[in-house]
Symmetry: C2
Subunit: 331 residues, 2 copies
């Protein structure tokens, strides 16, 4: 814990620049003042709470991992709208056993991602508290196309698209809950996916900008943070879906990790959680343009007029467990 | 704790409308989307953490008091810029012993203030956690004049103005820390000031709009949340001040409470804390216009070129204790 207010403000200022860009008045007054810019005055806002022993453990997260992931998880919601970053606010609850060095490394991990994403710190608050908790509020704006992409926009026949791996962070979580942080040489992709997820802001923004002669290529977008099994029904609204998704569509570590434990890797990947992948839908005639611009995006199925989600023409997908089996509920 | 995600979202929706006004896309997608409006694209943002046993106690705060004060404290920072409300986000950390009824009352207390202030809920997050904690992020915009009022703007000779009582919430805190919630008939004003502070948004906004033939009447503004002794030096920047402030300037309960305990009520009022009063400065020639528009605002002294703060031509004011003697540090 910093010894004085000035120590803490100096620490924050050392890690996060307090001027420039869209920040008209930086930290230190009653409010910060921003000029969000963008093609119109619209603003996106989303919040993510990141609480010790609910969302992360100090036993296998490094301080820098904690700082990184708290911001990454919040920023992923901007990616899920196809928004450009404007800024973020951080509220920190610090228990007495957090050392200056720990705090310094945690802020450094957050600051590195903040700088890389172009998402400046524009305010926050600090309090004592019984556990380490970080609340991150992100602000974004539409990109040049002026489009922000919502859920529930898919029409029957639309292609379902996925950017990013699913199930990898789940394997990392299970591995580290079981074996802790030691032997980091095993399942490095899975561990990294859980500890250092990468918010797909560039993908989200690109998906929202793609134009075809008939109009926007992508009609709906969302970030997959609670697992495809729970997020896909939210994305589809009243529609259903037919997925074509096999073991070859998985990251090799996901296939190996779950197969080696006698589990179905496709089912585990679809249960997933904290994937921070992006799920999108596109009219099939406009799909080639999307794949030309973003060849890494994969088609994982089609929107269907028949409710429910079917996997590989057979098995009906479990609708996923209730959100409260997991730690939180984002509004 | 709500039994399911749907229960929680229904509870939130019952208390907080999810459409209308400046909310273009309400809660339920990756982000909410706002149109802040205002005379230009500028946006104010501020954050306030409100943590059990650091900022409040469940022993003498009712659930509705907790909801009210968490939002009031954050909204006061908008008042301190002279900003108009746009919206707020709420992150809730709920321990297992919070009942549905407690949560319902807490949200009702917050919703009543939200509606009264015209400050809609535009997002948030929920997590389990070891203590009850509320993190509130408020967004605002400039009023019709386009002015947002900062600290550090006072020039020597400027009048120092105060809107609201100081020391009243301090008396309430001391009384309830000592005697709890019973006998609420004694010191009702002090108790209410601590439990149910009123953010002075209308005053702040009005102060930022007043025009004289020579220009804006008010040049600087801040909310007094850490006590005048600590906030006044922040407001003055490199300047000093001469205060004229006596027992007759105090709320009668402040005078009686501290006098009865052998303390100097003026000094205790200036130490204060959680007053949520507004401190402003105005050129003396433009002062009559301020007092004509807002007669409740009191002149409490003058800005001086001589550093330091002097009280009633004598005693040099203690500069206040360090912020970390108090629970938090707002950026």
């Amino acid at each position: 814990m910093p010894n004085s207010e000035q120590d803490f403000l100096s620490l924050i200022d050392r890690h996060f620049p307090n001027r420039g860009g869209r920040v008209l008045l930086g930290r230190g007054d009653d409010c910060a003042v921003l000029d969000p810019g963008g093609p119109d005055g619209r603003l996106c806002i989303s919040t993510d709470l990141f609480v010790e022993d609910v969302h992360f453990r100090r036993s296998y997260f490094s301080p820098a991992d904690i700082g990184h992931k708290a911001l990454a998880a919040a920023a992923s919601d901007l990616a899920g709208m196809g928004a450009e970053p404007v800024g973020f606010a951080l509220s920190l609850s610090l228990p007495g056993d957090v050392t200056d060095s720990f705090l310094d490394q945690m802020l450094a991990g957050m600051a590195a991602l903040s700088e890389r994403l172009g998402l400046p710190l524009v305010g926050g608050d600090l309090s004592q508290g019984p556990v380490l908790a970080l609340d991150v509020v992100v602000l974004g704006r539409p990109g040049p196309s002026g489009r922000l992409l919502k859920r529930g926009q898919g029409k029957p026949g639309d292609a379902l698209l996925l950017a990013g791996d699913i199930g990898l962070a789940r394997a990392g979580l299970l591995e580290m809950e079981c074996h802790g942080k030691c032997d980091p040489g095993s399942w490095p992709g899975a561990r990294a996916a859980h500890l250092r997820p990468e918010p797909r802001l560039a993908y989200g923004l690109a998906l929202a900008q793609i134009e075809t002669p008939d109009g926007p290529a992508v009609s709906g977008l969302m970030d997959v943070s609670d697992g495809l099994a729970r997020d896909l029904p939210r994305f589809l609204g009243l529609c259903g879906a037919d997925l074509s998704f096999g073991i070859n569509d998985l990251h090799p570590e996901v296939a190996a990790y779950f197969t080696g434990r006698g589990k179905d890797p496709v089912e585990e990947a679809i249960l997933g959680g904290e994937d921070y992948a992006l799920l999108a839908c596109a009219d099939p005639e406009r799909l080639p343009m999307v794949l030309a611009v973003l060849p890494q995006v994969r088609v994982i199925g089609r929107v269907s007029a028949t409710p429910g989600v079917r996997l590989n023409s057979g098995q009906v997908l479990r609708q996923g467990f209730d959100h409260f089996a997991k730690p939180g509920t984002e509004l």
